[in-house]
Amino acid sequence: MEFNGTLFVQYLIIGIATGALIALIALGYTLVYGIIELINFAHGEVMMMGAFFSISLIALSGVSADSAGAAIIGMLLLTLVLAMAFSALLNFAIDRIAYKPLRNAPRLAPLIAAIGMSFILQNIGIYWQGSNPVRPPSIIPLEYRSYNILNEWFALDTTIRFRLLDLFVLVTTIPLLIGLTWFVYRTRIGTAMRATAQDREAAALMGIDVNRTIGTAFLLGGGLAGAAGLIALYYNDNGWYRMGFRYGLFAFTAAVLGGIGNLTGAVVGSLCIGLIWSMSDGFMKQYVSGWGAQWTPSVIFGVLVLVMVFRPSGLLGEQTVDKV
């Protein structure tokens, strides 16, 4: 079948937006993993809790799509900040309750504790918003939901859609990523985090409070997950107690694909996953007869296995200098 350039660009946009969202979650995995080598299985659920918190907060505030534009934007920003704070504290509390006592336990003990936390949070999610998918309170006015920037702002006559929602994902994600990079490389506590990741003992000898540093990693990761929760909620117009599990699996895969413990790697891995996903969903059936979106999980994980075979420490696994 003929290659369709317009569709390709469209899938590219979708893949990048999805990848950016996954990156926010993947960073949380990678931050924690880099320091204490724990696959924090509950991380996806922290994101889900952030989303549920946002639902409750916005519903409580009474701001709706009919409110003034300033109120809507203000409310979204406020929710973003509060959801981040909520998830950060939640992640921090999970660490204190379930992982911290296990710092010197066998390596797999905290992993099981994390799996347990993930079940607990899922059940709390069911209590909170029920077991069916729910829609967030409608706060974005209808005409903006499918608002195509390319048509409306640039007056381009194209069928390619770059929606306000896609922009919303990018303008929220990119500053957060920049902020995180700045934090990790330019602040004292960030430096302490990198030092702890390199060598926990030596860092402690240098006077770094290792526990505080680990706590910071959980706070940061949780904050990003909270932001991802709010974004996913409105990007998908849908929230579900299993959303964390679903995003979490992809995000963790992305973090490993990029080279776990590596911040840039997590972002690159996430964009890869987002792109493979959209290309597979979109193009697969055109080029392989009888195939289709049902094969996408195999494609994503197949690529992961291949990358691991040829680059055993991930795409960017060798750039040791960038490690956190």
Binding site: L102, P110, Q294, W295, M308
Partner: protein, 400 residues
């Protein structure tokens, strides 16, 4: 049958290290499990059905213990092997299978026992096949690749209906032929002959336990432990790392071939949704909860988690409602624990880990490592962390 196996296990080298108390416990446990079905029937407890899947998951946990506990390779996709074992049996014996209908399967293989043996071999081959690409990987990179296989296998199964039946699954599946007993009776394996299945699974479980114990004490078993403790040292002592790791994957996987084929036959049905990520996770929880590397701990961990999953969560409702009535707390009286099962399951995992981080029954050798030389262990862990980061490929390649 159970008695002879027990005696054999008792004779094995592992058993010879046991003190009298442990032997007593083992014999008592065997005796309890042997009489349980009759007690169940006599008292009308009607809980025999729960024990069949519990036995299957315990066999799975024992197999996974070889990979994770003995050889120290974290596997997050063990359900893939379970699926392969179950589907091998189903594809060989189900009249609905495409291969059977097209006459590709010789008639003598379309029976339970030959199919079970083949499942064992096929699962082992897939263990090698899936293990080979992961040999150069270490730590959690390996874990994520196994997770990838765990996602790919059910996805492939559901998308290839010509062979696997796709989302419809395959059924019926061949059950063992009746075993004749003296006096004209025979033991039949129908879907409702739960006692027969109970003992069949119990026997397969004991047989697996026996084999795994022998493996553990063999030269190979000691190589696994050496590799787990320190790959480089093991390699310089002349252990072939590739062979050792591949055998861990193959033998670990092979037991899920047992589990899968018995499971498929007992419930006469396989379906791709039975082998999802959550299955891998709960089996892994059993292995770690029970105590990595200690086969009896793993069995106990399996018993706890699986019986909680299938029995306790339901049975606890009664006492709670009773308590609610006694104390007049409407919440307790009306509440249905079924809606909290995820929460209780999660809490149980977290609390047990906090109370006993090494698992309920830590492996003696591992425990020694962790307590006596805890200082060194911390350093070693950091070393490993550092390793993953700075590993350069040639060195890894050499080792592989």
């Amino acid at each position: 049958m159970a008695a002879t196996l027990a005696a054999e296990t008792h004779d094995s080298r592992e058993a010879s290290h046991w003190d009298r108390r442990q032997v007593t416990w083992f014999v008592v446990a065997i005796a309890l499990f042997t009489i349980y079905p009759f007690v169940d029937r006599a008292l009308g407890i009607n809980r025999l059905g729960s024990w069949l899947p519990i036995f299957v998951t315990i066999i799975l946990a024992m197999g996974l213990n070889i990979v994770v506990g003995y050889a120290g390779l974290l596997d997050l996709g063990y359900a893939a092997f379970f699926a392969i074992g179950a589907y091998t049996n189903a594809i060989l014996t189900s009249p609905r299978s495409g291969l059977v209908q097209n006459g590709y399967i010789p008639e003598f293989l379309q029976h339970f026992w030959p199919a079970m043996a083949i499942s064992w071999v096929v699962a082992a081959i897939f263990g090698v096949f899936l293990g080979a690409p992961t040999l150069r990987l270490r730590g959690d990179y390996l874990a994520i690749v196994t997770l990838g296989f765990g996602e790919i296998v059910p996805n492939v199964v559901v998308n290839t209906p010509a062979v696997t039946g796709g989302p419809l699954g395959l059924n019926p599946i061949s059950a063992p032929p009746p075993i004749p007993l003296p006096g004209g009776y025979d033991i039949r394996f129908g879907a409702s002959n739960q006692i027969a299945w109970y003992f069949l699974m119990f026997a397969v479980g004991l047989f697996s336990l026996f084999l795994i114990n022998r493996l553990h004490d063999s030269r190979l078993g000691r190589s696994w432990m050496a590799v787990r403790e320190d790959e480089i040292a093991a390699a310089s002592m002349g252990i072939n790392l590739v062979k050792t790791k591949l055998l861990a994957f193959a033998l670990g996987a092979s037991f899920s071939g047992f589990a899968g084929s018995v499971y498929a036959a007992a419930f006469q049905y396989v379906n791709p949704s039975q082998f999802e990520f959550t299955v891998s996770i709960s089996v892994l929880s059993m292995v770690i909860l029970g105590g990595l590397g200690n086969i009896y701990g793993v069995i106990f961990g399996g018993l706890i988690i699986a019986s909680f999953d299938r029995i306790l969560a339901e049975e606890l409702n009664g006492p709670m409602h009773w308590l609610g009535r006694q104390t007049d707390i409407a919440f307790l009286e009306k509440h249905d624990l079924n809606s909290d099962r995820l929460l209780v399951f999660g809490l149980a995992l977290v609390v047990m880990m906090l109370v006993r981080p090494g698992g309920l029954f830590p492996n003696a050798r591992r425990e020694a490592e962790l307590t006596e030389e805890s200082e060194e262990v911390t350093v070693r862990q950091d070393q490993q962390l550092y390793d993953i980061r700075h590993e350069n490929e040639p060195a890894v390649g050499e080792r592989a």
